[in-house]
Symmetry: D3
Subunit: 160 residues, 6 copies
Amino acid sequence: QPLSHIDGTGEARMVDVTAKQASERVAVAEARVCMAAGTLEAILAGNTPKGDVLATARIAGIMAAKRTGDLIPLCHPLPIGAVHIEITPQSEPPGFCLQATVKTRASTGVEMEALTAAAVAALTLYDMAKALQKDMTIEGVRLMRKSGGRSGDYVREPEP
Amino acid sequence: QPLSHIDGTGEARMVDVTAKQASERVAVAEARVCMAAGTLEAILAGNTPKGDVLATARIAGIMAAKRTGDLIPLCHPLPIGAVHIEITPQSEPPGFCLQATVKTRASTGVEMEALTAAAVAALTLYDMAKALQKDMTIEGVRLMRKSGGRSGDYVREPEP
Amino acid sequence: QPLSHIDGTGEARMVDVTAKQASERVAVAEARVCMAAGTLEAILAGNTPKGDVLATARIAGIMAAKRTGDLIPLCHPLPIGAVHIEITPQSEPPGFCLQATVKTRASTGVEMEALTAAAVAALTLYDMAKALQKDMTIEGVRLMRKSGGRSGDYVREPEP
Amino acid sequence: QPLSHIDGTGEARMVDVTAKQASERVAVAEARVCMAAGTLEAILAGNTPKGDVLATARIAGIMAAKRTGDLIPLCHPLPIGAVHIEITPQSEPPGFCLQATVKTRASTGVEMEALTAAAVAALTLYDMAKALQKDMTIEGVRLMRKSGGRSGDYVREPEP
Amino acid sequence: QPLSHIDGTGEARMVDVTAKQASERVAVAEARVCMAAGTLEAILAGNTPKGDVLATARIAGIMAAKRTGDLIPLCHPLPIGAVHIEITPQSEPPGFCLQATVKTRASTGVEMEALTAAAVAALTLYDMAKALQKDMTIEGVRLMRKSGGRSGDYVREPEP
Amino acid sequence: QPLSHIDGTGEARMVDVTAKQASERVAVAEARVCMAAGTLEAILAGNTPKGDVLATARIAGIMAAKRTGDLIPLCHPLPIGAVHIEITPQSEPPGFCLQATVKTRASTGVEMEALTAAAVAALTLYDMAKALQKDMTIEGVRLMRKSGGRSGDYVREPEP
């Protein structure tokens, strides 16, 4: 089974999608920022009324979704129709779960847009907290589900 | 201990670095792309002579390092002096480790540049393999070490 | 009446336009750069044959229209179909009126593209004249009319 | 007194700043978004705890400051050292005042960065409120003060 | 016969394509990098298994195709559907031929995208070899053929 | 003699320039757009007073110089200090010569910036004339001279 982005001689190419029909497509991806409990508390304390911590991460993720085709070399530029980033604090292990939902009406899917949005939102949250803790990690950047397109719907198996 | 990127009223700001002295700074970050053994084999098979798979991820990571200040809202634009991306296949668990090293002579560090380079290189590798496997994950996006600057050197504790 | 770009919990989102029908849409926006009479004269004198002053502002405005979705966080990227920037000197008060017309065939309108084009063209004109006068101002950045789309046509009321 | 960005034959150029000494420079610019009292109320109501309205405009302004050299054709790319955007609601006339402060250590000033940040933050606020009111205007985009550099400090005269 | 990008008064504009029907369009462009025989040998030697020289040029060309509307002021942003860059070493005269093929389904053609991809891939190859030879040249940046659209197909006449 | 942008295992990297001293550097590059005599005449006729043809190409070249590090994967981002584009009509063979001069104070040179500026200015001129003639070519994209830096000054040998 070949890699679609590599042609018969091993060279990178942008896959041809001009013959595919445009249809509505949705993808949902997640990422987690894992941190010490004290770091989590400090972020939540900073996110008081008017506090911009989570808003900054949301905006960064939304803007990154729109720039995916400019960041990932073999991605197609797509007319992004909607982006939503949901950020949820988690106590065990301490940190945040960032979920990105991206929609489009296009001839190819938006998995990479959702993954890029989740990853950049997570990097932005990391950036704002890195003065407090240097060994945070970003884990579990992954596709949760997608729908639309020829290859059918996909829902990630729940982890055991 | 306050969040440096948030001012006293909770509003986001770019921290003032104009009074800090420029000095040489290095940061090393890593990310892992975890996949099925068969996906790993297919990528390595596609990466024959002239095969562009890993080269594409390296180039994407290098270009992303230079664009960090444009992606992460509160990062300073920095005169990136060197970027190196090393991608190593791993058998247990199967996948790739991507390590990004970034250097600069500037008044603030390049942790975010190294983390962004590693994350975007990982997303690019994911993109090229996603036709083979939908449930790959990106794990362990984290800072390995940094040197230079007022806050001193940092080396990540080895995982137990 | 809620803000469309903010969801029920107060979080920013890109409004979903994937279900809307693409149709032809036009928006016209204006901005004025107000300056001393002597500054206006110097610009007009510099805009002799081969003089690039107004051309530079026009090109900047056209390019900014295409980059609106990358500048304004919650704007959709749109397939801009036409941009025209008209710059007219005015003697009372002295300065320039910049009018931007943007067209597209898309599922949402181009008001922000026209406003961004007019504002960036005005900033560019300001940049070229700022060595002559430091207290110029940009005034009246506003939508003049728009057509197409579900919400119907709009024509700005003439000022009394 | 000639236009510095236009050479002797009328052609646009980027002024040579390579021989100028780098020094600390600050610029402060403002813009106002003028709206109906009801629109102002709706925005303030939407800006409850967790409300992202003003945060989105702040982030857009900060990111635009960093991109000024890419938007305004004859501006130099500068190592932006700090950006702060302050947004204040005003009741008479109803609307918001957006003030951008930009700092750098460079061989030319950051007036255009401050003006661009204020203008893009204002456009972003406009974008989020435009579903409520179509005839808002952006007024008074102007430099308030600057310091540093050969041409000396500047403070705008208070309006009578 | 007038210049389409200049209106009746000599001012630049983006031509209106909103009334044109979207159809499949293809363009093929070429560029050559001419160098000493020794430089060619060194590049080919560096392009051993895992060697990234030509891959880097290919990726740069693909990414530039997607960014054409952001580089060439009066070009329309287009939904690029496929890009392929083929790089062939040539012995007489020594150097490389770079051929870019771009496809879209849009209301205007992709000649500029193909030419920009070929030119940027050539500049990237030049960049990687410039430490070896300072007097390389890029020649023959030109459209080879295009199809689709109202103006009909075009095939470049073979050179005599 | 190795390729500097490729490490010992054949992998692309950004060369480390952090230990190099910043100094003033200048590079001059040229490109030619070759066309039929009638196309040249039409462009010159369109470039009447207020005619934006050559100004558009100049602005595109200046903006591209600033974006070189974002286009050419292994180029360093540099604080461009000055850009000047000179466009000269030529009758034999008919067309235009575009000369780009770029200056900086940095730890590496600006050859690629000058070459990119000349190439993009040439592509922009091509874009504006392509409705008149499909078989124009861009020739002779090459470095004319450079000064500054460790490797000494370079002046291109005049062609015989």
